[in-house]
């Protein structure tokens, strides 16, 4: 088998991957014997093998375990802040609810369901993937996916929740209520934040 310089490059790649046939290997040797340039640029079989050994060694030496889960203990210090924030949110919701009741008695309602998946992607934060589902009225997008930031870590299980967003007559979202909780308060709040954010978009 006689090969030219371009084919020699492809055979060198095949040799590196252990995919070269015997005839390709023979052709490569024959080509290199008469082409000093390819000897220099592509290298002999032994050189290719040595380079591949580095890759194989690096793969065997790989010790990085991308376990992104953070132990709950690492976040305990922030629990007080979380509860303070939750209390403030609850108070704000009550005020908003009263406000909507008082000034917008004919408020429209958007309702929907959420299925959220927590996949623990990074050590810095825990984001859940949520899809805000079907709605009864208005322009609320169906199957709108949102990435939610949830503190503290939720389990890697799938959560589902239903929510209701109250919209005033100008189409602006006024409040969000969880009608079927997911079982995780933080996740519920994140879902409501996302639902309000989505409802605000034109």
């Amino acid at each position: 088998m006689t090969i030219d310089c371009r084919q020699a490059e492809l055979v060198a790649g095949a040799l590196a991957l252990g995919e070269a046939s015997d005839s390709e290997r023979q052709g490569y040797r024959k080509h290199l014997a008469g082409c000093p340039e390819c000897v220099d640029v592509l290298g002999g079989e032994r050189e290719i093998e040595r380079a591949m050994e580095i890759v194989a060694q690096a793969r065997d030496d790989e010790r990085w375990e991308p376990v992104a889960r953070v132990e709950p203990a690492a976040r305990r210090g922030s629990f007080a802040n979380v509860w303070r924030f939750a209390a403030a949110c609850a108070a704000a919701l009550v005020v908003a609810f009263i406000g909507v009741r008082a000034f917008y008695p004919t408020a429209l309602q958007h309702t929907g369901t959420v299925s959220a998946l927590a996949i623990h992607p990074s050590q810095r934060d825990e984001r859940a993937v949520a899809v805000l589902g079907t709605t009864s009225t208005g322009h609320f997008p169906t199957n709108h996916a949102e990435s939610l930031t949830v503190f503290p870590a939720t389990s890697a299980a799938t959560h589902a929740a239903s929510f209701e967003v109250r919209i005033d007559k100008d189409g602006a979202p006024r409040s969000c209520t969880i009608t079927k909780p997911s079982g995780n308060g933080e996740l519920d709040r994140a879902i409501c934040r996302a639902a309000l954010r989505v409802a605000q978009k034109p």
Partner: protein, 194 residues
């Protein structure tokens, strides 16, 4: 073929039934299975591609996010290992382009300096072995198309044909990219030993 014995298939053939391909269950269950099966492999591949563990984890999440959105919208859609790696590769390449890392990185001849940069966080991978450091230095000098070719084949264990399907190119193009990557790797090794 002697050499192939030292490169066992880590992931196995793409024809094999992979986690998350059962179309009778919901998108969340399928993605959950894929996360369990491929999170580590994809994150390691992406960490080599982008040179940053945190970015790799973010990009890994994006891959599963995309899978979830797709399966939620169309449960009949086929999402397999090849698809996950394709999305991961595209994500890594667009990240590298976005950050213009390729242009910012100096093509330094000084291996000690490059190793120093690795350890001081300029290139944020803590390398435990000379082989890992050599590979990472070579990868950062390579165009992402060549880096992904060498990682998918020699690191993730795909054949050139399987890698070609993932990268949307031909097996010959993959072999050519691997050959050119080997050239850079040989240069890095020569610099370390000289």
């Amino acid at each position: 073929m002697r050499h192939a014995s030292r490169l066992p298939r880590v992931l196995g053939s793409m024809e094999r039934t992979v986690a998350g391909t059962d179309r009778t269950v919901g998108a969340d269950v399928r993605v959950d299975a894929m996360v369990r099966e491929y999170q580590t492999k994809l994150a390691r591949y992406l960490r080599r591609m982008v040179g940053d563990a945190e970015v790799a984890l973010d990009l890994t999440q994006d891959v599963f996010f995309a899978a979830y959105r797709m399966l939620h919208a169309d449960p009949q859609r086929e999402v397999n290992a090849s698809w996950l790696y394709r999305v991961a590769t595209n994500g890594a390449i667009s990240y590298l382009r976005r950050r213009k890392i390729l242009r910012m990185l100096p093509l330094d001849r000084d291996v000690d300096g490059a190793l120093g940069a690795l350890r001081t966080g300029d290139w944020r991978i803590d390398e435990r072995s000379a082989a890992c450091a050599d590979l990472q230095i070579a990868l950062r000098r390579l165009p992402p198309e060549q880096a992904s070719a060498v990682l998918l084949t020699s690191y993730a264990g795909y054949s050139s044909q399987e890698a070609a399907e993932i990268l949307g190119t031909s097996a010959d193009a993959v072999r050519q990219r691997v050959c050119r990557a080997m050239r850079v790797l040989r240069t890095v090794m020569a610099e370390r030993t000289s």
